[in-house]
């Protein structure tokens, strides 16, 4: 119990932000779940990583499973009456279930194989998935910290977050994060580097800075932002992924088609702007003919009226690619 009091303070003092993409202050989340009065609480480790070209959580589960599990155990000790799930994507479940089961040796932690696709990594959808319901996000508030799995207060953190919880508890946190670097680079892989690094520094340090004309998608393999080589003096957002593209060799429409198909397939079909908007974008990209007026209208409703963050985030990569690259080509 003594240590448990410390961890929330430590997380808060470190100003540690969650590593699942939304960058929510972890200390605050823990505090909320801890302080809510309830007979039962849940802890969920989100290992459902599902965006194309993002695999740093898989890397951590493969290489540092002890730390991740240690982080979950600290949460179990900190939050009374709690039990935990590790919520794994189908691939990760098959790949890691045996090794994880061996490590856990704790009846308080069980593994859960994710139902549904990418969006099922969204926090309220994780709850719906474990409860065996139709996979659509819930209306927030209430947030899972107050009303989560089976209506109980639920702490949901990403794999990397739990890894760093263990580090912070042991005072071994050196303000680093995991970067996955892929695409047209020499040294593909996952790297633990200072979180203060700019994308440029990360590419340099990992000996991945191209000597050809290139651009980058930062923060996710579909929803990530498009940055030109001149725009890399900024930190990597979201889930820490850097994808490098050889500008001359990249077919912009087929790249956009990949994103569009991903959003079309992976959106949950609940709300109008996202279901219909992602479909109309995919149609337009397939024809390789951009109607700027229509596209702007679709982006507007997606960004302003989508139910959840997935829909609100769809325009970002397209807008960047179209304005920075496609229009330049012409």
């Amino acid at each position: 119990m003594h240590m448990s009091k410390d961890i929330i303070t430590k997380l808060t003092e470190e100003k540690f932000l969650g590593r699942g993409g939304a960058s929510f202050p972890t200390g605050l989340k823990w505090k909320t779940v801890k302080e809510v009065k309830a007979e039962k609480k849940y802890i969920i480790c989100n290992a459902s990583e599902g965006e194309p070209n993002v695999f740093k959580d898989g890397f951590i589960i493969e290489n540092y499973p002890e730390e991740m599990i240690q982080g979950i155990k600290i949460a179990l000790e900190t939050i009374d009456n709690s039990s935990a799930y590790i919520y794994l994507s189908k691939d990760y479940y098959e790949k890691f279930k045996d090794s994880l089961k061996e490590l856990i040796k704790d009846s308080q932690i069980s593994l859960f194989k994710k139902t549904g696709g990418y969006l099922a990594g969204e926090e309220t959808l994780i709850c719906e998935s474990i409860e065996g319901k139709l996979l659509e996000p819930r209306i927030k508030p209430p947030f899972p910290a107050q009303f989560g799995l089976w209506g109980c207060p639920t702490l949901i953190n990403n794999v990397e977050t739990f890894y760093y919880v263990a580090k912070i508890a042991k005072n071994q946190y050196k303000k680093t994060r995991f970067y996955s670097v892929v695409g047209d680079v020499e040294n593909k892989g996952v790297y633990e580097l200072p979180e203060s690094y700019s994308i440029l520094q990360a590419l340099k340090e990992t000996k991945n800075l191209p000597d050809f004309d290139f651009f980058v998608q930062s923060g996710g393999g579909a929803s990530g932002e498009i940055l030109l080589s001149s725009e890399l003096d900024q930190q990597c957002k979201g889930v820490g992924s850097i994808i490098v593209f050889n500008r001359k060799q990249t077919d912009l429409f087929s790249l956009m088609k990949k994103w569009a198909d991903f959003f079309l397939e992976e959106n949950c079909d609940k709300c109008i702007p996202c279901r219909e908007g992602s479909y109309r974008i995919a149609e337009m990209i397939k024809k390789e003919k951009i109607d700027k007026k229509i596209l702007d209208d679709l982006f507007l409703v997606l960004e302003e009226s989508s139910f959840c963050a997935l829909g609100r985030g769809i325009p970002l990569p397209f807008r960047g690619l179209i304005t920075k690259l496609l229009n330049e080509q012409k």
Binding site: C271, R280, F307
Partner: protein, 574 residues
């Protein structure tokens, strides 16, 4: 937090008092402030998926769905900024582009909230190709049509079907889209309650129409067309002519039907009086033989539910036929004989608040001398459409008296339209039959009202009779579970599949919600209140028919009783 705490908010510069915990959309509706929406329905959980009701809130980032955002003290809400308007229009265009307008003319277009909004916001054409052109049309028995190309994926139908615990409508991922489809599960079947129809904002779910057949029958000079209309119609159809909710229009209704060309108009309430007598007898018999509970059987969706989902309870279903069937049978026997008409030349048309009644009239076991008691069922909405088509306005038409001899009913007959009415009517009569005395107070307030489950214990001759009155299949399931544990927990159980009973039926005018249902029901009780004869067994025509016509057990049986059997899944598409 006090649920009734009043707070003040501002909508479009107007100060408004409201309750804490209400949503912005609820407050707006109460104050007649127009915010468009499609997916929200007060009967169902909030889904917030149509994104039409987006508003801005001062000092808050972004737009907010008014259906899912609760009001807070001092909140300033903007509902019509240029940005909101633009977003609404684009979203409406996107919805419209997935709603395939087929050329089929169907009454559902008049009940399509979507088409109302399209008109209002002047969305003429969409810039997109319709993506649902090839989506299939399904028919559920003789009752419901589901044109999935018109579905806007709001999920109301699935929610309401789940609420009924039927689960016949579900989502299936087909080619990147979650689509609403009828379940292929052998253990799930439609019970034709039609709640999906009255909760559908786009007219994708609609009642099977029979008005054209009826028009033909009226035109056919060799046919005597006899109409009857259900108790609840008289307090609901006025809505279709912009009369206030709960307006009683019985005699206008008679005049309207006559104007359509009907030869006679009788009242299903008279049928209900017969049902009451027979059902009271059954209850008494079951009480004497200790074979209770006696389950009512006027609601065909409930009967189908028992036959398909709980066949073990079939022996408890009252064999008494429903009011429209008894009356139809009497029209083609008693009345035909009296008027010297060949029953084959008679067409009986029932106006019902219900789409399951279209299923009921096709049940083979109801045949009398080779004829079905009722030939066509039209819903309240269909009749209103026919009136409009023939320029008949219930608001203006001069009232006409109902025809005799099957027109004058007791007060007991009219309350059949509200949940609790059947049991109350049967108790009024059963009390007399058991005690040989009339009740001093005939109102059974315990079984009235919109609550889903009402329980009461009534003393008759010092003996307790335990009653349960249910509306909604979800609640019926709860009672069946109780009965499984304790078989004689109740003596009489009334079940209506639709919320509030027939006044909330699947054939009723739209929109529909708990307030509207209450007003329709209240008016039925007002009619009963004012009736001189309020007991079925005191109705002179009932007495007369039993004396002159239903003289043998066989006669009573063939006109007034039926049978049930276990059902297999009927609605299949493969």
């Amino acid at each position: 937090m006090n649920k009734n705490k009043r707070i003040q908010i501002i909508i479009d510069n107007k100060k408004i008092d409201c309750f804490e915990k209400q949503t912005i959309l609820e407050v707006a509706k109460e104050n007649l402030i127009d915010i468009p929406f499609l997916c929200s329905h007060p009967d169902l959980d909030i889904k917030a998926n149509c994104r039409l009701c987006m508003v801005e809130i001062k000092n808050r980032k972004g737009l907010h769905a008014s259906c899912s955002t609760k009001v807070e003290e001092g909140m300033e809400i903007i509902i019509d900024s240029p940005k909101i308007k633009k977003i609404r229009e684009i979203n409406l265009e996107l919805i419209f582009a997935q709603h395939h307008k087929k050329d089929i003319k169907h009454i559902s277009v008049f009940n399509s909230h979507l088409l109302d909004l399209i008109k209002k916001y002047k969305i003429k054409t969409t810039r997109f190709k319709n993506r649902k052109k090839k989506y299939p049309i399904y028919q559920f028995g003789p009752s419901i049509i589901f044109d999935s190309s018109k579905c806007i994926d709001c999920n109301n139908c699935i929610d309401v079907c789940n609420k009924q615990t039927i689960g016949f409508l579900e989502k299936q991922k087909i080619e990147n889209f979650n689509q609403v489809v009828p379940s292929e599960d052998e253990n799930k079947d439609c019970i034709y309650c039609g709640q999906c129809v009255v909760h559908c904002p786009s007219g994708a779910l609609m009642a099977v129409e029979n008005f054209k057949n009826v028009e033909k029958e009226i035109e056919n000079k060799n046919k005597i067309v006899v109409f009857q209309f259900a108790p609840s119609i008289r307090t609901s159809i006025g809505e279709e002519f912009d009369l206030p909710y709960g307006s009683i229009v019985t005699e206008q209704l008679v005049a309207g039907i006559k104007e359509l060309g009907a030869d006679r108009v009788f009242d299903t309430c008279v049928g209900a009086d017969f049902t009451t007598i027979e059902e009271a007898n059954e209850l008494i018999e079951k009480l004497e033989n200790k074979t209770t509970p006696c389950l009512t059987s006027c609601c065909p969706a409930w009967v189908k539910f028992i036959e398909f989902n709980y066949p073990k309870f079939i022996p408890h279903l009252a064999t008494t036929r429903s009011p429209q069937i008894i009356l139809g049978g009497l029209i083609k026997t008693y009345w035909a004989k009296k008027e010297n008409i060949n029953p084959k030349d008679i067409t009986v048309v029932s106006i019902m608040p219900c789409v399951a009644k279209k299923y009921e009239i096709q049940r083979k076991e109801l045949e009398i001398n080779g004829l079905m008691p009722v030939d066509y069922v039209l819903t309240t909405r269909e009749l209103a459409y026919l009136f409009k088509k023939h320029n008949i306005n219930l608001k203006e038409i001069s009232p006409q008296k109902i025809d005799n001899p099957l027109g004058i009913h007791s007060g007991a007959g009219v309350i059949y339209g509200a949940s609790g009415g059947v049991v109350e009517s049967a108790l009024r009569t059963a009390y007399k039959k058991i005690t040989k005395k009339e009740l001093t107070k005939i109102e059974f307030e315990q079984v009235r009202g919109m609550e889903g489950i009402k329980r009461a214990t009534i003393k008759i001759n010092g003996k307790s009779v335990k009653i349960a009155v249910i509306n909604g299949i979800e609640n019926a399931k709860k009672i069946l579970k109780e009965l499984k544990k304790e078989p004689q927990l109740y003596d009489a159980v009334e079940v209506m599949a639709c919320p509030g009973g027939c006044i909330g039926g699947g054939g009723q005018p739209m929109p529909i919600d708990s307030e509207i249902r209450k007003k329709r029901a209240d008016s039925l009780y007002r009619i009963d209140d004012k009736k001189e004869i309020r007991l079925a067994h005191k109705n002179p025509i009932i007495k007369k028919v039993y004396q002159d016509f239903l003289v043998s057990k066989e006669m009573v049986h063939s006109i007034c009783h039926t049978e049930y059997s276990q059902k297999k899944k009927e609605v299949k598409f493969k």
